[in-house]
Every structure is written in C-alpha cells, then in structure tokens.
C-alpha cells in the first residue's frame, strides 16, 4: 500500500515539472560557467563541422535567399542566427541553442513557395527564441534528479533497491552519460539536444505561423506544408515509412498529426487572410539546384 502511494506520488511529481521560461533577449549570450554556455561550446564544434561538410551548399545566392527569409521572420534576432543550406534529400530544418541552424535541400525542394519556407523557419526561430533546447535539458535534469531523490526514498524505506530505477531513465540520459566518455557517441548525443517536447513543438508551430504572418506571408502556408508532408509519408513506396507517422526531419520526436494541423488551421483563420506567397521568388532561388536535388531525391528510391 505504502509502495503504491509512493509510486503515485512519484508519477504526480514527475508530471508536474514545469518547463516554461522567458524568451531570450536579442543578442543575449550565456555566462561562461553555465550549462547553456557549455551547450554553445558543443554546438560551436558541430557548426565548424557543418561549415566544412561536403553537404554544405556553397552557392551564395541560395544561402542569401534563406538568410533573407530567416531575417524577415526572426526580426531582432536576425544578426545572431546562422543558417546553412545543406544538400541532403530529406525535408529537415534544425536550430541549435547557439543560433546555428540548417535547412536541408529536401525541404527547399518540397516547399511550394517562400511562405511555406518562412513558416518552417519561423518554427525553428521559435525553438531558439524560446530557449527550447536549454529548457528541455533543464527539465530532463530536474526529472532525473527527482527520480534519483525518489529512488533514495525507496531504498531507505527498504521497499525496493534503487538499482533498477537508476539515473538512466531514457535513452537520452544514457547518451548524456556515455557521451562524455566516448567521442563517437558524443557526436550522436547532439541529436539528444534536438529532441523537443510536444509542448515545445506546439509553441514553435503557433509562433512560427504568427512570425511568418507578421512578416507578410500568407497564413495558410503553415497547415499546407505539414499536410503535404503527411501525404507524402502516407504515399511512400515502403510499408515501413507508411506505417510511421510523418515527422519533420530526423531529429523530430513528435509526429505531424491531424491535431497539429488542426491547431494551425485554427490559428491561420485568426490571421489576416491575404498575404504574400513568394512562389516565383522561391522557384527562382532553387532553380539552379533543381537538377541535382531531384537526382539526390531519386537516390532515396521512394517514388510514392
């Protein structure tokens, strides 16, 4: 009985860990002795790798185009963001806590127009502005501390040995712990920082569409681009892909589902109906790369 009560108490405490925080001020940099500065340091290395990567698209024009759209949605945060176009045939965009981001060619290829790109960039900018990476890291740390505290309670109470409820409750924690010892795993632990919570994703969706709309883009681009991605996943040649939920990119832990699209459609209704699409400009920006990107895409052997 006592044990059941303790477990119920633990479950309640774990669920109640708050994650909300203030958005960062433009130009804000972390103090050197904080975990956030540590994350910036880790991502400085990842960014240096990206800059030297063979996948980096060296064309100044397409990079300038993505930068311009980023600046329109990021506003005051524009000077501290660095977005790189990577030639990878997967629809993906990332944003690291230090303001380094990537847009993959698979995303530029699929975006119908500039407005759809603006929404995805608005989504990524929100992850940065709202400190989602550091928030998730802190929430994860608090949760693990609590698990530890509770397991001490359990051990001292003599009910169960704490061994099985040890500190490594989820794969991210295992990566965190081993990543500091083994460099091969260390780099893959970066992926752990890109996993955002469901709340973070919803916030990024809603602020992303608002940012794009405030910059003058059409509001219905947001639900449209998610719907297209879901349709593409559903039409895949591979059963394994069809069965999987659609996700934006390889690091995205939360599926694009009907509920997410519905919320965006609701939000789009509340925004000004007319807006720029920038279709011609988007097509002009990607045209010089189209042949190569389509060729890359064919290599996926998924003709849907």
């Amino acid at each position: 009985m006592q044990r059941t009560a303790l477990l119920a108490c633990a479950a309640a405490a774990l669920a109640a860990i708050p994650a909300a925080a203030e958005p960062r001020a433009p130009g804000q940099t972390p103090k050197l002795d904080t975990a956030e500065a540590g994350m910036w340091d880790v991502f400085a290395k990842a960014e240096a790798e990206a800059k030297r990567s063979a996948d980096l698209n060296a064309d100044p024009a397409v990079n300038a185009y993505v930068r311009e759209v980023t600046c329109r949605v990021a506003q005051a945060y524009c000077p501290e963001l660095r977005i790189y176009v990577m030639d990878r045939p997967i629809p993906n965009a990332t944003m690291a806590p230090n303001g380094y981001g990537e847009v993959w060619s698979g995303l530029l290829l699929r975006a119908e127009d500039e407005a759809e790109l603006a929404f995805v960039l608005g989504h990524e900018v929100t992850h940065y502005v709202e400190n989602h990476s550091i928030e998730r890291h802190t929430a994860h740390k608090n949760r693990q501390n609590l698990v530890m505290a509770l397991s001490i309670g359990v051990a001292v109470g003599g009910a169960v040995a704490a061994a099985n409820t040890g500190p490594y409750g989820d794969p991210g924690a295992v990566l965190d712990a081993t990543g500091s010892l083994i460099d091969a795993i260390y780099l893959s632990s970066i992926a752990a920082y890109f996993r955002f919570s469901r709340e973070n994703e919803v916030e990024a969706d809603l602020q992303g569409i608002r940012r794009a709309s405030a910059a003058g883009y059409r509001g219905d681009a947001a639900p449209g681009s998610w719907k297209d991605l879901m349709a593409e996943t559903a039409a895949s040649d591979f059963e394994k892909v069809r069965r999987r939920d659609a996700r934006l990119g390889v690091f995205d832990s939360h599926p694009l589902n009907a509920e997410r699209v519905q919320r965006l459609e609701q939000e789009a209704k509340a925004l000004p109906s007319a807006g720029q699409s920038g279709r011609e400009r988007h097509r002009a920006a990607i045209r010089p790369h189209l042949a190569r990107w389509l060729k890359d895409d064919l290599r996926r052997r998924d003709f849907g």
Partner: protein, 203 residues
C-alpha cells in the same frame, strides 16, 4: 597500459592542439557541459604537453587545430578522430573486435600529406573527456552507499596517440585516467596528468 611499437622515432614531430570536453555530473546523472572548464583544460594541457614534449622531441611544433582542420588535410584529422575513438573503444574499452588480434590501427598512406604539410615525421593527437560530480551528486552517492547502492561519480580521462606520418600507423597510444591530484582544470593537475600520459612515449 600504453601500447608502443618497438622502433624509437628519431624525427621531428607535430603536436596537434589538444581537444577537451568537460561536464558537470548533476545529482540525477545528467551532464551539464561546461565551456569554462573545457577552455581551461585545453589551455593547461596544451601548455604542459608542449613543455614536456620539447625536452624529448626535436623540432616539436604546436599546430593550431582550427587552421589544420580547414584544408583538405583536415579530413585526415577527422579520420584520426574516428580511429582514435575506435582504439579507445575496442583496444581499451569494454568491447573487443573478435578478428582484431594485433594493434595495427592506421590512418593509411594518405597521412603522408600531413607529413608534407607540417614537415614532421610524427604527429601527436590528444583528447580529453570527462565529468566532475556536483556536490549534490557526491552527497547522493554517500547517502546511497549507506544502503549499499553504488552511484558512479565523475571521471576524467585523456588519451594520446602518436602517428607515424610516413606510413599512417598509430605507433603509440595511451590513456590516462585522472586521479585526485590530476585535475586538468588546474595548472598543477594538468602537469601531473600530462606526465602520466606521456610516461612511456617513444619520443
């Protein structure tokens, strides 16, 4: 246990600026990366390695990592990172490769490009990784040890490998785990850690 080839290199060597990544191990086991510690460790190790190797190798040159990684030869540094981590994992770590009976790790003939670039016959690579337990983590460990549960505390290690650039072979490799007097964030600690790391270096 360091591993070394029999022959003793009599030639000029390059030392690549060491890498360091240190973190704070919080009570629940999540590591907070710490940029200030990593920076201090990098500076301390760099200074100590240079000072201690200068007395052994002739014409020792410290190579700035950022410049070295910029060109095409930077790919060789990344190859070394992969090879070095494999050595750590399979020759020193918990995993064994069933068909790898001998210590014959190599970067391949391509390493000659580095020999030409730095005018050196050997290159030394050093990397440090580690965690330091927070006060709360230590208190937790002490508390739990009373009821017989072991909680791992922080550990720091540094590994070095010496590559013969003419052949690409890893001719010497060593791992040093930091003891209580070898905190690489401090000048003294870095000196003693470097000394134990380089104890058997064939330079």
């Amino acid at each position: 246990m360091p591993w070394a080839a029999r022959s003793r290199p009599p030639a000029p060597a390059s030392l690549l600026q060491p890498e360091a990544q240190l973190s704070l191990l919080t009570a629940g086991g999540v590591a907070d990366p710490r940029a200030d510690w990593s920076k201090a460790a990098k500076a301390n190790l760099s200074r100590e390695l240079e000072a201690q190797l200068k007395t052994r190798a002739h014409g020792l040159k410290l190579v700035d990592a950022e410049t070295a990684e910029a060109g095409a030869n930077g790919q060789l540094l990344r190859l070394h990172e992969a090879v070095g981590n494999s050595v750590l994992l399979f020759s020193y770590g918990p995993y064994k490769l069933p068909t790898k009976k001998e210590f014959d790790w190599t970067l391949g003939q391509g390493a000659q490009a580095l020999a030409a670039e730095h005018q050196a016959d050997y290159a030394m690579f050093v990397q440090a990784r580690g965690t330091y337990a927070s006060g709360a983590r230590i208190a937790t460990a002490v508390g739990l040890s009373l009821v017989g549960v072991a909680v791992p505390l922080g550990q720091q290690q540094v590994f070095a490998s010496l590559v013969h650039l003419k052949t690409g072979k890893v001719v010497w490799f060593n791992v040093a785990v930091a003891g209580p007097q070898a905190d690489m964030r401090e000048a003294d600690g870095a000196a003693s850690l470097t000394a134990s790391l380089l104890k058997d270096v064939p330079l």
